[in-house]
Symmetry: C2
């Protein structure tokens, strides 16, 4: 038995919890708050609750929203400049993975100095970070509870995976009411991102009993609630359950790390600036087919969590049903099916193979994998 570690932020979950941002920051000793968000969130009808809560807690704040999907190093730099200029002493990220990952990266540079690429990899952050309160609004990234921040190196066109316990926020706020403003497409792809987090961490070679309970619960929730969540913007129960699935999958992958889907998706997303959820959604079944050999018994458990009848079959046959299930779910909810739809072609395979194999997430993939394997998977998914 090896030594397992598990870390998570204080979690505040529920409709209306977004109005606790201000008092959460105040409780952590903040005196001026730097709010990172994106333009979509900024124009939502619920964003005002965040600023109002700061106002109620007598906390001045600055809003920074100059960020894009697959956020770039120069966007972080711009944020850091503003953070220091405005003499803020706490960060709040409100949004999906992009806004939260940028908020984390700003916290790192504002206190530790230097440039983002210096922090790529595991445990490179030396000095303590300012208080971090993260508000998740997509039921996707899990970044609000994780020790990850993913920032794109704009020169090298490469995503930098930064992993450190310091990046676990102090407080994570998850308010399902924010999900009612998402489009069906975004609901579908971020929902499949949740499923990817849960499945990759469950079959990860770093999985532990504590990550397994979270991953398994997330898989079962996605199976039951992703379809209705895509179908109806106002299905509150489905939104709540998908928000919980996202948190649980986030806790699982934060502590068990991920696998080949994310390693490939970081490589593709960094190079071609494509939406993370879309790329993951396409790759997941292909990587599952590849990884199947390593852990058929875990695939059997996944099939069972999906609600498939598995008892009367052999492990091998039953486990395969997990893959079939994911394919059908993806089609049902209208997720993109092929990388060629995103403008990718065979000529991109070699570089993706090279970059993906170096990604920190590849280390915990359950099946040994080479750059040639990645190339082959990429071509299969075209």
């Amino acid at each position: 038995m090896k030594i397992n570690k598990f870390v998570m932020p204080e979690l505040i979950f529920g409709n209306g919890s977004i109005s606790l941002v201000g008092e959460s920051c105040a409780r952590l000793g903040a005196r001026k708050v730097f709010i990172t968000t994106d333009s979509g969130v900024l124009s939502s009808d619920w964003f005002e609750q965040v600023t109002e809560s700061c106002h109620n807690a007598r906390l001045p704040y600055v809003i920074f929203s100059d960020i894009t999907t697959n956020p770039k190093d120069y966007e972080v730099d711009k944020g850091v400049q503003k953070y220091l200029q405005e003499e803020c002493d706490a960060v709040v990220g409100v949004g999906g993975g992009s806004a939260i990952d940028v908020a984390k990266a700003i916290a790192v540079l504002a206190t530790n100095g230097g440039n983002i690429p210096e922090y790529e990899g595991v445990d490179k952050i030396k000095l303590p970070l300012p208080p971090q309160v993260m508000v998740a609004t997509t039921a996707g990234s899990g970044s609000e509870v994780s020790q990850f921040s993913i920032i794109t190196d704009s020169e090298k066109k490469k995503k930098l995976t930064i992993i450190s316990k310091s990046l676990v926020p102090d407080i994570a706020i998850v308010d399902p009411q924010t999900l009612t403003t998402k489009s069906p497409h975004l609901t579908a792809t971020t929902g499949l991102d949740v499923l990817t987090h849960a499945i990759e961490s469950f079959v990860s070679i770093a999985a532990t009993p504590l990550t397994d309970v979270q991953a398994k619960s997330a898989i079962a929730l996605v199976a039951q609630y992703l379809r209705p969540s895509v179908a109806s913007r106002m299905n509150k129960e489905a939104k709540e359950k998908m928000a919980m699935a996202s948190v649980q999958a986030g806790l699982a992958f934060s502590n068990a790390i991920l696998g080949a889907v994310h390693a490939m998706s970081h490589a593709i997303g960094g190079r071609f600036l494509l939406p993370h959820g879309d790329v993951n959604a396409i790759l997941l079944p292909y990587v599952m087919e590849f990884n199947y050999l390593a852990c058929p018994e875990k695939f059997l458990q996944i099939a069972e969590l999906f609600g498939e009848e598995v008892s009367s079959r052999t492990t091998i046959d039953s486990g395969q049903r997990a893959i079939e299930y994911v394919k059908k779910l993806s089609v049902d909810i209208g997720a993109p099916q092929r990388l060629s739809e995103m403008g990718l072609s065979e000529s991109d395979a070699a570089i993706i193979g090279q970059v993906a194999i170096e990604d920190a997430c590849m280390i915990t993939n359950p099946r040994d994998i080479t750059a040639a394997d990645v190339e082959r998977l990429f071509k299969l998914a075209l």
Copy 2:
């Protein structure tokens, strides 16, 4: 949907993890460590690993072991005096609930001043506490992950329940190798304490999806591994699984609180200074029978987690099997069955009813309960 909160320490779990005490304290900035423990732990063959780890981390330490089961306020006072005298700046608790609860209480008084009774109840601790690293060695109390500390008011002969997020340790270390020195009796009663934590938090009116996954996993682990753990001191797998069950049950009750078993057990334990695990073990089935009316569907799930065949029965019949299962488990592992064995009699019923009904744990009991109900349950369990 109400707003749910969930908080837990950084967790380090596994054989050999006890040798990480020193570096964990150093990571939190400690310069002189106050180690609280009991005489049993002090004489174990693995305790040296704790002091050695402090030595390796170049951390001076002081050991304080003048504590008893159901630790008393004056023991805490003595510890605080020593802590201040020795100019320590971090606390480490190594042991079962007693050693850890005392370490927490010392941390409170050393920084916040005053006397322990002033902190009874919820959120009474105002100033931040020194770094806290807790090492669990009983697979029972769950105190290493919880926001609870239970200290006996020696004058009033009453247990004080102190609940505060500040009492969640910074780091919890759980090393299953420490369990191999426990007697079968202690293994049985602390194991039933784990089951009590899991069941009471699962049926608590403050249960949430996040506490439920932990409680359910703990119940299933106890069902599978408590018997073999009692049977063999050296069954490593059983020790590991029971240690994990204890952590998960601790996470569940820390965030969902408990119920009538603990309210009664605090009242009885405080007055008659009886072992907490023994009293809980006796009371659990009686309180389950009383609470059954409030949530038969949850009892059905408990029966299912115990591995009982429930599908072909009605909810009512199936749920009752959870109670039968607990009774049989308790007899199988040789746990005490009646309060009269502990020297209690009918004349004690009235005072226990009065005290228990005021306990903070009673608030989350799923069935409305009066002092008269407690008296009746007490007499049934005699």
